[in-house]
């Protein structure tokens, strides 16, 4: 606590300076509201319950796309990672698709699905697929060969080997990929909401900007930052818990 004191004081000084600069109108108040007004707006949104609907919409959008990406990424990753032939045929194609900005497929997705929630889910799933897929390929590829031989002598079926031996071994890789994916899913949820006018926090902050309601805009950014933080740390905690068996065995 004592070590954290300077950091807390510094943060409070920053907020005080922000408040002062805004009160004195040193910076244009149209895009620089005071922290008082920003957090007041946030408090109002929470107290009146106006916050929950867009928050839920964005969170669900993010989760749907992400879950789709996880399912697809792990399944594909298992198929590609555990077979040398599949790797030789598919890896160059994946190499080409991976650096493609996920938002670049928004026009294509709009062409097929229009400005719909399905479009948004597709874009989120596509964008957040890559970290899971690459991590899963890597994880399944590095399954201990001796374990595989053991399974062969035990005459286990291929599916069984994947599920009981390769998957637990690949789990650490997959979980770190899954975490990166969720961060990307949040970004793309916001992007598609802004681009396609779908209800949610992304659309709200864009509307706040268009009508110059800067406290609302800042409050929206704060909320998105909090979601970003919770998402990352939630999965970090889960990762530590699920991988405890591994730390013990190493």
């Amino acid at each position: 606590m004592k070590r954290a004191l300077p950091a807390i004081i510094f943060a409070l000084i920053l907020i005080a300076l922000w408040q002062l600069a805004a009160e004195l109108k040193l910076i244009n108040p149209i895009f620089f509201p005071s922290p008082g007004r920003t957090f007041g707006e946030l408090y109002m949104q929470i107290a009146s319950g106006r916050l929950w609907q867009p928050l839920g919409a964005t969170a669900l959008r993010m989760l749907y796309g992400w879950l789709l990406a996880c399912g697809l990424g792990i399944a594909l990753g298992a198929a590609i990672g555990s077979s040398r032939a599949a790797r030789e045929y598919l890896e160059p194609l994946l190499d080409f698709l991976r650096p493609l900005p996920a938002s670049a497929i928004i026009p294509v997705a709009i062409l097929f699905l229009g400005l719909s929630p399905a479009m948004s889910t597709l874009v989120i799933a596509f964008g957040s697929l890559w970290p899971v897929l690459l991590a899963a390929v890597h994880g399944f590829k590095s399954t201990e060969p001796q374990l595989v031989e053991l399974c062969e002598t035990l005459e286990m079926r291929r599916g069984e080997v994947l599920l009981k031996v390769a998957l637990p071994g690949a789990l650490p890789d997959i979980l770190s990929g899954v975490r990166v994916s969720l961060a990307i899913a949040l970004i793309l949820a916001v992007v598609t909401e802004m681009q396609a006018s779908l209800p949610g926090l992304g659309q709200n902050i864009l509307l706040a900007q268009r009508s110059f309601r800067s406290p609302e805009l800042y409050a929206g950014i704060v909320v998105l930052g909090i979601i970003g933080f919770l998402v990352n740390h939630g999965l970090l905690v889960a990762e530590r818990r699920w991988l405890r068996w591994r730390a013990a065995s190493v």
């Binding site: 950091a7 890896e91 681009q195």
Partner: protein
């Protein structure tokens, strides 16, 4: 060579499918039309101009992020006390998705290069900053003691000792930032900034020129891929 098999098969099926009328012609133009649109966009210079506009914003943002990230990173890395005091306040900004700042950047700068570069700079700052802090902390402490006994000023210490010693890992951060900056620039253009490749793609889609849109998409894929290859050298 085997890597080419699946893309080739897909292309042939695509061309055949649209010639036989199996695929919807509005949303899936033929590969041959896409090639024609690509050649045309290359010939009239529009594709290269758009690519430059996107790169301009990405690079400007990257330079801002690079300078800011290395400077801040060096200060925080060299002084643990400053890091403990200032670090958490900076860290609090990190989870904000960069795209959430698009409306704010628009409010401050209006449409154009500056707002795009600002969003890119925010997104690209973090890998540079984190790698620089880690790299500076890893600098041989005796080198720093030496520079102190030589009574170097902070900028001398930075330019003559710290940055040369930490350069390898900082370069890794810059490489990550480069990839991010292109992605974010295109994203800002697709969402609302009327310039560059991202905006052209949305324009082609709205004008129902799906051949041109796919040509731009494949070009963007190629550029991103080539950039990654070059950066890995």
């Amino acid at each position: 060579m085997r890597g080419l098999v699946i893309p080739s098969v897909l292309l042939i099926l695509w061309e055949a499918g649209s010639r036989l009328g199996v695929l919807p012609p509005d949303s899936t133009s033929r590969p041959s039309d896409i090639v024609r649109a690509f050649v045309q966009a290359m010939a009239d210079g529009s594709l290269l101009r758009d690519t430059w506009l996107t790169f301009e914003a990405a690079l400007l943002g990257l330079v801002i992020a690079g300078v800011l990230g290395i400077l801040l990173g060096a200060i925080l890395g060299l002084s643990p006390r400053t890091e403990r005091t200032v670090g958490p306040s900076i860290e609090a900004l990190r989870p904000i998705p960069a795209v959430a700042l698009i409306p704010l950047a628009l409010l401050v700068f209006g449409f154009g290069l500056r707002m795009e570069a600002a969003v890119v700079a925010f997104a690209a700052l973090w890998p540079v900053l984190l790698m620089t802090v880690a790299a500076v902390r890893g600098v041989e402490p005796r080198l720093l003691e030496l520079s102190r006994s030589l009574e170097f000023s902070f900028s001398q210490q930075l330019m003559k000792i710290v940055l040369p010693a930490a350069f390898g890992r900082i370069a890794v951060g810059l490489r990550l930032a480069l990839a991010i900056s292109l992605v974010v620039a295109v994203t800002v253009e697709i969402v609302l900034n009327p310039r560059g490749l991202g905006h052209s793609m949305i324009g082609a889609q709205q004008a129902l020129r799906s051949d041109l849109m796919y040509a731009q998409l494949l070009w963007l894929g190629f550029v991103g891929w080539a950039l990654n290859k070059v950066a890995q050298r």
